[in-house]
Symmetry: D2
């Protein structure tokens, strides 16, 4: 399956490396990056990618290319999805599709109307720990889901420059947890209550964002979700989920660097968790791309399809409004205000 | 220190047993219970309690008695505190002081005005696991507190008859967590947002209560707390706290019955947690009473004093209103509405 | 069941306290201690023991006493068992029965011939963690036992004076593990290979003992056991067992003081284990005495009977010889040399 | 660094894959395998290896090749080491060097005399868990080493055909643990006592081997080691080490597939460990080869050098003799009998 990659930044290179070493079904034949330079060219050569270009259009126009992997900046996602769909190419696109709800809808619709596969890069669904909890829930071992708790904390805050363009903590960081909450619950969120505080760095507050956020979610079935985010967990990249139900509880803990422990007269110590997202989710990125390859091979819907791209953005919008107006916000209110169809209508 | 006990129900007997075996400074010389019967009389004799009576007044009037332990039903707590205070006796009273805020204030004031020790029975503060987290926070290891998470789930719901008179999940069950949140944070809660659902038993909903509740707390310092309660955790009595701060995270896990594990071809299994509150908090009840004995001995303020009795009730009132009106409720609103002084004024 | 206790040292007082608080079936009516002093007398009074004496004979001669609990020094155990048996009293005796094999045999035989219950104080069999492993093995979950590993390490060495009279590490310390090995395996040991080193304190070597010991055991069924002992584990009182079999592995870990953990930028730390034997085996001593009470009540054989008293001493003798002569030693060799019947012959 | 690989069996391919994806300093330019077939040729092409041959000599004779990686069958190791050394090529050789002590000596000497790097494939030294324990020991946190415990158990026995040619459990399986024991202790073993049993499969006994083995090691400094091996741990590939010393204990546990746990009314279950050696030691094989690459780059001695190849074989010889003659065997006895220098003499 000949594939073109758009964007050779950090995440783009991770995908290229993973595909080369672990996804033999995908053959990367072209790389497009507007910032193309010698380093990227060398990287491409090293990974046996025959064609490099600054123009994504060359990928869309290449009749030998079957699929595109979009790793460019968020503001280009929707456009590239639409272009790729027009060109009849299957699509893997990093999250989020867009910050604008109508634009998200448009992009998803484009792929659906073109009949191409669209997979959204919610990589955490492929993490071994989160997936194990998901499998326990889906197997029925937990029974009906009553409560979901998610903690997701970064080891250190991004730069203030980044914060300013990030869209805010709910779009930038909690978007993953919104997707995870839906994924684990197996149903949709109907209402959001968000609180935030500036506790890590006043500059984040001055930039108009919060660095500590807590959100309650109400699910269709009455279950309640609780998510917390912090921009700075000094002990590492903290990623935990818990699903409590009528028949039990499934939850996970963080991966740690090793299993060794040391006991002395003064302390009992064990290994820290990972500090870097790419170290923590190493395997998830590989599994995600293997999943995309399977979807391409079988022609069946991907594990995270286009329709999965909209609800997290709806939840982020609701959370942003809830925090601003200090009240619970229903997802239906967001849908009505934005005048966006929650589902594809042919 | 001669002490009288009022109420020989389940919790009263636990205190009597613990004092007899582990609190030599306290000498129980009288037991009052309006439901006094042969079984209670035999229990008293077995524990070498010389005097049994149906009338609590006999304890208040006994000049040889220095302290009283109030284990009667909640609706009598305030009255007995006031009576004991008038009689100049030190007081240990089970939680909550009362459901009525003014009445709570009146009882606490009575003890303070009389200059007697008043300890409230928030036993979880004395639990080895929760106390260890508290000590880590107080030592500064966690830094400034940013987030607090508390999960508190019962193994099975109480009878519907009990639910009807319980005052609701926030007064009856989450009251402990409200106290724990203040205790861990080291500062007061200013605002509460409560959500509830009926997911365990529709009869609980018909009785006007919820069985699954989630609450967000805002603390004075901007920190955010998240509490969840369920009336039915089929896997046991689930009691966990987590404090996340600028320098680290302290948290605990449940005690389990033993440390053994078994690994077979099919599974890796370990021991369950406790299912019964008195098994889980065995040591906490002993430590609590030892703490009261130390307060009596030294004449200094108890570890959980009268003033600690009011805030959890304020929080329960705010949570109840928040859930009812589906909006965040400030503690100050409750104080104003109830016209109750948040602190003792001589 | 009226019971006399002989010996009011540390272990004697533990039994008295436990019986008073947790074993209502046993009524202690007499306490004998040759070193009787005011402190012991006060302790007896506090625990409502009516009679104190310096002479154990007064207990044996008291027709109202049904059972004796022997907590005196090891060199008196055999004699007191024999005396108690003659007097027709049921017996609980601390371990070991004696260092001399013939004397052990004689004492056990005396109890068996008199038809009285004799329980040996191998308290670890009643520990919740070890018992959980035992139950897993007995349930068949582990399948046929292939390997047993036991680590048993003291937090600090005893005084050199004690070492000199202790009988050596195999009689004094590993005797518990020899019993545990038999208990877990469910069959007898046939051969022992012991190695020792002086690594903790040269004075222990000068006193003729080792402070670090490793032993291999061969069981009747071909399974192999491995035990290690150290007189000094600076991190606490380390007590772990592991049973590996054809269908799985059961093992336990140490109890720790609490479940709290703290994660900071520098470390991930959890609670230490216990440092004091009586803190670690608190519950085991209670359960052991409750088991004895059940045996007295039902008249059936105790969970650790007289015959259980001999094999650990045989194993200690074999280990001592093995280390001395630097060769494997069969239990049969010890039996023949000592000319002692391995089982009771009426 | 141009490198030739000899042997394209399972382990050879693992090294090729790891080098291609994770060791950019090593450039594989030739592959030799006497069983060369289409599958191997395709594998080589896929990994961009320009030259494939059936004759290892072509690698030794190639002046453009700087290093060889020997993954052929054990009986060829010594010969290939000698050939490679003669050709002045650096060498990575899988363990063990040979079963014959003189032959091991000869091969190591050849490399040392030629001044080429020789690294032995004791991959477990590079495992994150074992290495973490090693680092704790080397940092001094454990103090002086007193006891070492190693459990190493395979998920299932090899074929009886393999058992027959394996050299026995001590050469084939425990050889890794012998190396690990030396590695962790930081000093040499002087004496070995080995016991074995046939508990897994009688056919293994009929083939002249045991399937369950326990060994005690005495180290130069008086410390004692205990190793157990089983050919069949039905719950997975069980790999644990523990180092107990004067200042503490360092130990590790097995990696498990994920961190999720599920608690229900009936059980508390967590994830199994790995079942396949290559899954368990995935990262160790990569780190080992990266270590070899560093040695090649810097020209300094490898982390596991040629001299590390002899002691494990000496220990295996001692264990084999000890089990056969049912007595402790000193390493010095093996050295004298075999007339082999324990260290290189120029």
């Amino acid at each position: 399956m000949n594939t073109g990659i758009i964007g050779a930044g950090r995440i783009g290179r991770v995908h290229i490396r993973n595909i080369t070493s672990s996804v033999p079904q995908i053959n990367i034949t072209a790389l497009a990056d507007p910032m193309l330079n010698e380093e990227i060219t060398a990287f491409a050569r090293q990974h046996h990618i025959p064609k490099v270009t600054t123009d994504a259009r060359e990928i869309f126009d290449d009749p030998d290319i079957d699929a595109v992997i979009i790793c460019s900046s968020t503001n280009t996602h929707a456009e590239y999805i639409i272009e790729a769909a027009k060109a009849g190419k299957h699509i893997f696109c990093e999250k989020p599709v867009d910050y604008d709800l109508a634009r998200v809808r448009e992009a998803i619709d484009a792929a659906e109307n073109a009949g191409v596969i669209l997979q959204i890069g919610f990589c955490r669904r492929f993490d071994h720990n989160h997936r194990a909890v998901y499998d326990m829930v889906r197997s029925g071992s937990v029974g009906d889901v009553n409560l979901i708790r998610i903690s997701s904390r970064d080891p250190e805050p991004p730069s203030i420059d980044y914060v300013k363009v990030s869209g805010g903590i709910f779009y930038d960081m909690m978007i993953h947890d919104f997707d995870m909450a839906r994924f684990l619950a197996g149903c949709e969120v109907t209402e959001v209550q968000a609180w935030g505080s500036v506790l890590v760095d006043p500059a984040i507050g001055e930039a108009g964002d919060v660095d500590t956020a807590a959100v309650m979610l109400r699910f269709e079935n009455g279950a309640i979700g609780m998510i917390d985010n912090s921009r700075q967990a000094v002990y590492g990249y903290d990623q935990r989920v818990e699903v409590f139900g009528s028949r039990g509880m499934a939850f996970n803990d963080n991966d740690v660097l090793h299993t060794a422990r040391i006991l002395t007269a003064d302390s009992t110590c064990s290994a820290p968790m990972h500090r870097v997202m790419f170290d923590r989710y190493t395997q998830a990125f590989i599994s995600e791309m293997q999943s995309f390859a399977r979807a391409l091979e079988t022609g069946t819907g991907p594990e995270v399809n286009g329709e999965d791209g909209l609800p997290p953005v709806l939840m982020a919008a609701a959370a942003t409004l809830s925090m601003k107006e200090h009240r619970p916000v229903k997802i239906s209110e967001i849908i009505e205000t934005a005048n966006v169809n929650p589902v594809h209508t042919a």
